[in-house]
Amino acid sequence: MFPLGGAVLMSTLSPLAGIASPIALILAAGAIGQDVSSGTLQLLLVRPVSRPSVVVHRWLAATLAATVITTMTLILGSVALVIRGAHPDALDLIRMVLESLCSAAGSAAVMVMLSTLVGGLGDVALFFATLILSQMLEVLGTFKNWGWLVRACAEIHGALSPQLSWEWMLHGTPPSWFALVSWASTVSLAIAVGIARLNRRELSYAAG
């Protein structure tokens, strides 16, 4: 709601650009871990459902829900801007929807992967612990002029919330293949690790 208010006040959709990632994080938090802790997953897996499909469907559900919420907010923001006399660019709106989809898919994949590693909402703690630790190390790296550490921390940030810019679409320039491949690599690795971890996990009602 705050970003929407900001967008209306500033007469631009920019404040809504980054909301997909936190929404996906919230929706995917505990996606697997909470079901393991509560025993729901053990019950679900007595049905003919494979473990990889549980991981993939949880990821898809969180991605889809976060994208729909973000798109609705963007549409609402655009309507509010039109009412106030500003005219948001349609191509820019499409770019923001595509970026939201990529951010949501990336963040949801990472959160679902973390969720297969720990029970309950431990994935949220793991996410923020990694984020804070990497930020502290980045400050240390900047202070000590250790470029390799700063670069490593930037890569960790990128891996925690993978994003993909579609700005090139508006300007007719070629996309950055590194950015595209980095995003796809992080998402596929997160899903693969999540499936591998859940496949090897011993599930019982005492687990969690």
Partner: protein
């Protein structure tokens, strides 16, 4: 024989995603390869700053109440390209930068064409430009408020622009006071 249950999974329920691992490994290799390639051949990034023509800048500055920023650069200048990539092509930095000043780009073409246009020559002479990049912030009366030679990094640069433009707004003796936007 009982009818097959709808949605029944054939094969092991813990099937290892071999294809996904192959795709992930291939993407990881491609990530390293494209990273190395783009380190040496940075992709063309769009300039996100709405540059104002030099002739139109004073009127525009007076209209929006911001000082003029002259960016003296050249195509062959390495630090100018770094500034282009890290500030003018970066959505966040370019947006912040554009809120403080009316930006004017003054590109030196002597090396490519043998001479500059009259307005480029005149601006370079007036502001004593001897190196690239040189950035000069000018108040509404045309007097230079501050100047920066070289590119000190995106964050430092944008901070300098913010500070210098604030000084330009508060500077006494300007022809007409510049209101805070």
């Amino acid at each position: 024989m009982p009818p097959a249950e709808r949605g029944r999974v054939s094969g092991p329920s813990r099937q290892d995603p071999k294809l996904l691992w192959i795709v992930a490994a291939a993407l990881l290799v491609a990530r390293v390869a494209t990273g190395i390639y783009e380190e040496h051949h940075p992709p063309e990034k769009p300039d996100l700053v709405s540059w104002v023509p030099a002739a139109a800048a004073p009127a525009r500055a007076a209209a929006v109440g911001r000082p003029i920023l002259y960016d003296f650069s050249a195509e062959w200048c390495g630090p100018c390209q770094a500034m282009e990539r890290d500030v003018f092509a970066d959505a966040k930095q370019a947006a912040t930068f554009s809120t403080f000043v009316v930006p004017v780009r003054v590109v030196d073409r002597r090396r490519e064409e043998g001479h500059n246009s009259a307005i480029v020559d005149s601006l370079q002479r007036v502001h004593g430009v001897s190196a690239f990049p040189t950035v000069v912030i000018v108040g509404a009366d045309g007097k230079a408020i501050d100047r920066l030679e070289g590119f000190p990094g995106a964050q430092h640069f944008v901070r300098w622009v913010a500070t210098a433009s604030a000084r330009a707004r508060m500077a006494p003796g300007l022809g007409s006071p510049i209101p805070i936007p």
